[in-house]
Symmetry: C2
Subunit: 193 residues, 2 copies
Amino acid sequence: MVDNPSARKLVEVALDEFAARGFHATTTRDVSTKSGLSPAAMYVYYSSKEELLFQIALIGHSAARDRLDDALANVDPSEGSATRLEVILREFIFWHAEHPTLARVCEYELQHLSAEHVAQIEQIRHDIQTTVVGEVQRGVESGEFDVPDVRFATMALTALAIDIVRWYTPGAGITPTELADNLAVLGLKMVAA
Amino acid sequence: MVDNPSARKLVEVALDEFAARGFHATTTRDVSTKSGLSPAAMYVYYSSKEELLFQIALIGHSAARDRLDDALANVDPSEGSATRLEVILREFIFWHAEHPTLARVCEYELQHLSAEHVAQIEQIRHDIQTTVVGEVQRGVESGEFDVPDVRFATMALTALAIDIVRWYTPGAGITPTELADNLAVLGLKMVAA
DNA sequence: GTCTATAGATGGATAGAC
DNA sequence: GTCTATCCATCTATAGAC
């Protein structure tokens, strides 16, 4: 992910701070100090605070996209849409619950990126959405699903996962796996024929 | 809501700014200037920026709670749980879509409140949650609904509404009414027996 | 109740030594 | 590559005149 130890530590600390306090409420001094470095050291690895946020957003979105793609690649293509969508939902929900700070920054702090950086992140988000939309569409065509609008249903499905990051922490009395299993079932009922 | 014209204008401007940029990225100078006042005038009506946020959170949460209660009071108690829950869901979703800036601040900016103010807001949120949980519970008891866990299902239902504020603006190609109607249907399918 | 002026503190980023 | 020192802008909040 990030090979240099200092650069990596800075990202890890910034991730925790951004998730806990928000981008604007986090100071570069705090990130550097909590990383065991001087306030100036951050600028050796990242040109600005915004660049640090961008790297985090890039790491998070790439990881989420790759996990979805990998999960789908490991499902027998002859499986029905319900199975394939369940795999996607579980993976998507699980990712948000397993990496709550990273997911939180990815879902809530993008407004603080520059226009150029936002565009790059939006491209990855578009890819992810296309993947989910494709599976819902397939299920509608096969008759397994019944929804009035595929994109609208996809929005509702992803909302189930995304809203997790507003409140979930690993010590919330339910494991990421349980959360993913139970929520995926509800999501499937939502689109079922 | 707020009777004094200047106090009201300050709240309105602050609401827009907090929703667009976040609490910490919004400056009191900006709020005052955009309200047609000097930077100092804000402190005549609000003791701090945090107090301004608290008043907004109070207005929003009280309004949401009252709308839910009113809507339920106008439903024939002999109606089935599906109808009653549909009314709640539509109202809750509609409120988030109709007041996207207010809802956004209420859902995403509470972390910037003082511990004391958070506690007051959490009380109202608790009341709202109790209302929704109650209707889901009734539907489970009557056999109209079938969910493994009432609180978990309630979390999923409210997530559908809350995640709207992350992306929705009135010019997004769908009206609040349409959004509420279509999303409430999906929510009902999620808990249906 | 609104203003101008400013205190007092903090934060992003840079300069230059080692 | 990391440091100390610091510039300079910005921000919350207050003082005191009108």
